[in-house]
C-alpha cells in the first residue's frame, strides 16, 4: 500500500482469493514426480542423469530470472554457479577436516551465499548497462573469472580442480543415517533442493520486485518514470539469481565431488543459455523443460555420438528461427488449438511433417556421422555402426544411400511444411478471430 493512499492497509478491503486448486495440483504432482522417479528409473546412469537434471533445473530457472523476467541476456552466468561450487567445495573440505560444523545437506546454502556475494560485486558493474552491452560485459567478466581461476591454483586447484568427500561430517539427522555416500541419497538431496528452489523462484515472480522486473524488461523508461531505479532493480534480480545459481553450483560440488575451472567457463554459461532458451523464456516452466532436454543432449546423447554439440546447435538455431518462444510456447500453441477443437485439421499435415522430418534427420545424422568417422576416428577402421547397422565408410553405397535419403526427405519435408504452414496459419487466424468476436 503506497503512502497517502485512501485506504489504510488491510482495512475496508475485502480480497477475494479462492484457493488456486490447479496450482496446488501442479506443484503436488511435481513433488510426486521428484519422489517417484527413482522407482521407475533406478539404474545408475538414470540416477546420474536425473541428478544432473535437478541441478540444471535450478540453474536454468535462475538464468531465466535474468533473461525471461528482467530482459538481461547474460553470457557469464556460470561465474556465479562456478564460484558457488568452489566455495561449497572448500566448505566440504573444512567439514571433512573438522574445522567447520555444518551439515553437508546445507552446503548448497554456502554456495548460494557465495554466488550472491559475487552477484553483488560483479552485478554492480554489469547492470550499469542493459541490452547488448550487458551481454558483452557479462561475457568479458566471465572470461576474466575463468582466466583468473587458472591464476590462483591455491584456491581453484589449477587445471585439475579441487576434490572433496561428500560423506564428510556427521550423518544427516543421526537417526536416519543419511551420509550422502550412495547416489540415491544424493538424488533425493538434489530433488529436495530443486523443488524448494522452484517454489521459491516461482513465488518471487509474484512479489513486487518480480513484477517491477518485468516492467523494467518491457519498458525501462516508464519504470523509471513511476519512480524505480532500473539499475537497482536489475542489480537486485541479478543478486537473487546468482544466489540460486550458487545453490546449483553447491549441488554440483556435492554431486561430482570435484570442481575445476571448467565450472566457470564460457561453455557452461552458453549451456545454461541454450537450456533456458530451448525450453522457452516466456513461461516459468519453460527453463525446467529446457533443462531436461539439455541434459538429455549433453549427457545422454554424448554417450552415443561425438557430434552432440552440432545437433544441439542445429536444434537451437532451428528453434530460434521458427519457434523463438521455445518448446513451452510450441506446447501451449498446440494446447490452444486443441482447446478450440481444431486439432483434427492439423493431424494429417502434422503426420506428414513429422515423418518427413524424421527421415530428413535420419539422412542428415547418417551423413554427419559418416563424415565424422572419416575425419576423427581414423584409427578405428573403416566401419561404423549407425542405428544398429554396420556401414563401410570407404564404400560408396553408404554415402549414396545417406545422400539420397537426405535429398528425398528434404524435398518431402519442404512440401509437407508448406501444407502444414498453410493449415496452421488458417487455424490461428480463425482462433484469433473467434477471440476477438467473443471477448
Amino acid at each position: 500500500m503506497a503512502p497517502g493512499s485512501v485506504f489504510p492497509p488491510n482495512v475496508g478491503q475485502v480480497a477475494y482469493r479462492p484457493l488456486n486448486f490447479g496450482r496446488w495440483v501442479v506443484w503436488g504432482f511435481t513433488a510426486l514426480l521428484f519422489i517417484a522417479m527413482p522407482v521407475f528409473f533406478s539404474k545408475g546412469f538414470a540416477l546420474t542423469l536425473m541428478s544432473q537434471m535437478g541441478i540444471m533445473i535450478i540453474f536454468a530457472l535462475s538464468y531465466n530470472m535474468l533473461l525471461g523476467q528482467s530482459g538481461m541476456l547474460s553470457f557469464g552466468h556460470a561465474v556465479y554457479s562456478g564460484l558457488g561450487a568452489f566455495f561449497a567445495m572448500h566448505a566440504m573440505n573444512a567439514i571433512d577436516a573438522g574445522t567447520l560444523a555444518w551439515p553437508v545437506s546445507l552446503l548448497p546454502l554456502i554456495g548460494g551465499l557465495a554466488g550472491a556475494f559475487f552477484g553483488v560485486v560483479f552485478g554492480y558493474l554489469t547492470t550499469k548497462k542493459a541490452g547488448t552491452p550487458f551481454a558483452m560485459i557479462t561475457l568479458g567478466i566471465g572470461e576474466m573469472v575463468f582466466a583468473a581461476s587458472l591464476m590462483f591454483p591455491g584456491f581453484f586447484g589449477g587445471e585439475g580442480g579441487i576434490t572433496g568427500d561428500r560423506a564428510a561430517g556427521a550423518p544427516f539427522l543421526g537417526v536416519l543415517g543419511l551420509t550422502f555416500g550412495p547416489a540415491i541419497q544424493v538424488y533425493y538431496l538434489i530433488a529436495a533442493w530443486s523443488f524448494a528452489c522452484m517454489v521459491a523462484m516461482f513465488a518471487l515472480t509474484h512479489t513486487p520486485l518480480g513484477r517491477i522486473a518485468n516492467a523494467v524488461r518491457d519498458n525501462p523508461e516508464r519504470a523509471e518514470f513511476i519512480g524505480y531505479n532500473t539499475q537497482r532493480v536489475r542489480w537486485l534480480m541479478l543478486i537473487l539469481s546468482s544466489f540460486f545459481a550458487g545453490i546449483a553450483g553447491g549441488l554440483t560440488a556435492i554431486n561430482f565431488e570435484i570442481v575445476s575451472a571448467e565450472n566457470v567457463h564460457a561453455i557452461r554459461s552458453g549451456g545454461v543459455l541454450l537450456a533456458a532458451f530451448i525450453g522457452g523464456v516466456a513461461f516459468f516452466f519453460g527453463p525446467i523443460l529446457g533443462a531436461i532436454v539439455f541434459v538429455i543432449f549433453a549427457v545422454a546423447l554424448s554417450e552415443f555420438t561425438k557430434a552432440w554439440q552440432l545437433y544441439l546447435g542445429v536444434f537451437f538455431v532451428l528453434l530460434v528461427m521458427f519457434a523463438p518462444g521455445g518448446l513451452s510456447s510450441l506446447i501451449l500453441m498446440n494446447l490452444r488449438v486443441m482447446k478450440f477443437r481444431k486439432f483434427g485439421r492439423l493431424r494429417d499435415p502434422y503426420f506428414g511433417v513429422l515423418v518427413s522430418a524424421l527421415a530428413l534427420a535420419f539422412g542428415a545424422v547418417m551423413l554427419i556421422e559418416l563424415t565424422y568417422h572419416l575425419t576423427l576416428n581414423v584409427g578405428q577402421g573403416d566401419r561404423v555402426r549407425l542405428f544398429g547397422f554396420l556401414f563401410d565408410t570407404t564404400r560408396a553405397n553408404a554415402w549414396v544411400f545417406a545422400t539420397s535419403v537426405f535429398l528425398a526427405a528434404g524435398a518431402a519435408f519442404e512440401y509437407y511444411r508448406r501444407q502444414f504452414r498453410r493449415e496452421w496459419d488458417a487455424v490461428q487466424v480463425e482462433i484469433e478471430d473467434w477471440i476477438r468476436e467473443n471477448p
Binding site: K129, T132, M136, G140, I141, L150, M151, A307, Q309, V317
Partner: protein, 317 residues
C-alpha cells in the same frame, strides 16, 4: 631498446589484427543492431578456407578467394537466416548468431578434424625483416605483411564509406533506414551487403591471422571475447574507437606477456620486505606475464567505471 621495439611491433601487429575483426563487428552492429557472435567463427572459417585453398593453388589466391567465400557465406546467412529472425527482435537475432557459432565450430571439426592444420606462412614472407635486423630487431616479415594488409583494409573501408555511392547509402541507412527506403534504395539488400562485407573482413583477418598464429578449432574462442572487449572499450559502433582500443589491447598483451614485474617485486624495490609471510602474498607475487590474460578484461571493467560509453563512443546505452 631493441626488445622494446620488437615488442611494440608485435603488439601493434596483433592490435591491427584485432582491429580487422572489430571493424567488421562494429560495422554490422552499428548498422543492423546485431551483435554477431559468429564473427570470430567467420574469422576461423576464413583461416581454414585459406588453408584449403593454399594447399590447392597457393597462398596468394587464398588471400583473394577466402574473403570472397566468406562474403558469400555471410550474405547467405543474412538473407536466409538473420532476415527471418529479424521480425522476432534483437535478442533472437543475437542468439541465432550464437547458435551459428556452435554449428561452425563443429562443422570445422567434422571437415578438418580436431587438431590444428598445418597452415603455414608463404615461403616468400618467411624469415625476419632485413632492414630491421640491421638495428638488431628481429621481427618476422609476415607480421609486417599483416600490418600492411590491415592498414590497406582500413583505408579501403574509409574510402568505400566516404567516397562511394554505396558507402553514402550505407551511412544514410545507418541512421535513417526508413527514409533511405523511401528514397528507393533496397535497404534489406544493403544490410545483406554489410553483413557479407563484415564477414569478408573477418575472413580476411582469418587468412592473414591463421598462419601467423595457429589454425585450430579453438581459435574462434580465444579471440572472440577479446574482440568484444575491443568494441566495448572503443565505444559501441565507433570505428575509430575500435582502432584505438585494438592497438591498446594489442600493446597491453605483448608487453604484459614478457614482463616479470610483480607488485611484490615492486614493493621490494621500494624498500619494503614482502615475502611469503606477507598477507595476500598469493596476489602480490603474481607477475605481469601471469596476469596478462586478464588485463583486457580489467581494462573493460575500468572503462565501464570511468567512461561507460567507451573511449570514443557516443552512444549512452
Amino acid at each position: 631498446m631493441e626488445s622494446i621495439v620488437s615488442q611494440a611491433l608485435i603488439g601493434v601487429s596483433y592490435g591491427l589484427l584485432l582491429f580487422m575483426l572489430a571493424a567488421g563487428l562494429t560495422l554490422i552492429f552499428s548498422m543492423m543492431g546485431v551483435l554477431n557472435f559468429a564473427h570470430a567463427s567467420f574469422y576461423m572459417l576464413g583461416a581454414y578456407v585459406a588453408y584449403q585453398i593454399s594447399t590447392w593453388i597457393g597462398f596468394w589466391a587464398a588471400l583473394v578467394l577466402a574473403p570472397l567465400a566468406l562474403f558469400a557465406l555471410g550474405a547467405f546467412v543474412e538473407r536466409w537466416g538473420l532476415r527471418r529472425v529479424h521480425k522476432w527482435g534483437h535478442v533472437p537475432e543475437l542468439l541465432f548468431t550464437f547458435g551459428l557459432s556452435y554449428i561452425v565450430v563443429e562443422m570445422v571439426q567434422v571437415i578438418w578434424g580436431r587438431a590444428a592444420v598445418p597452415y603455414r606462412v608463404p615461403a616468400e614472407l618467411d624469415g625476419p625483416v632485413g632492414w630491421l635486423q640491421s638495428f638488431n630487431v628481429i621481427f618476422p616479415q609476415y607480421r609486417m605483411f599483416m600490418m600492411a594488409v590491415a592498414i590497406a583494409m582500413l583505408v579501403a573501408i574509409w574510402l568505400v564509406l566516404t567516397r562511394t555511392r554505396i558507402g553514402l547509402v550505407i551511412q544514410a541507412a545507418l541512421s535513417h533506414p526508413q527514409q533511405v527506403e523511401a528514397l528507393g534504395h533496397n535497404v534489406p539488400r544493403v544490410f545483406m551487403l554489410v553483413f557479407g562485407g563484415g564477414s569478408a573482413l573477418a575472413g580476411l583477418a582469418g587468412v592473414v591471422g591463421g598462419n601467423a598464429f595457429v589454425t585450430e578449432p579453438a581459435m574462434a574462442g580465444t579471440v572472440g571475447a577479446i574482440v568484444f572487449v575491443v568494441i566495448v572499450v572503443g565505444g559501441m559502433g565507433s570505428l575509430a574507437g575500435a582502432f584505438v582500443a585494438a592497438l591498446l589491447i594489442g600493446l597491453l598483451e605483448s608487453f604484459g606477456k614478457v614482463s616479470d614485474w610483480s607488485v611484490a617485486s615492486g614493493l621490494n624495490a621500494l624498500g619494503a620486505s614482502v615475502g611469503p609471510g606477507t598477507p595476500g602474498y598469493e596476489v602480490l607475487k603474481l607477475t605481469l606475464s601471469q596476469v596478462a590474460p586478464v588485463l583486457p578484461y580489467l581494462l573493460l571493467v575500468l572503462i565501464l567505471i570511468v567512461r561507460p560509453k567507451g573511449l570514443l563512443g557516443t552512444r549512452e546505452d
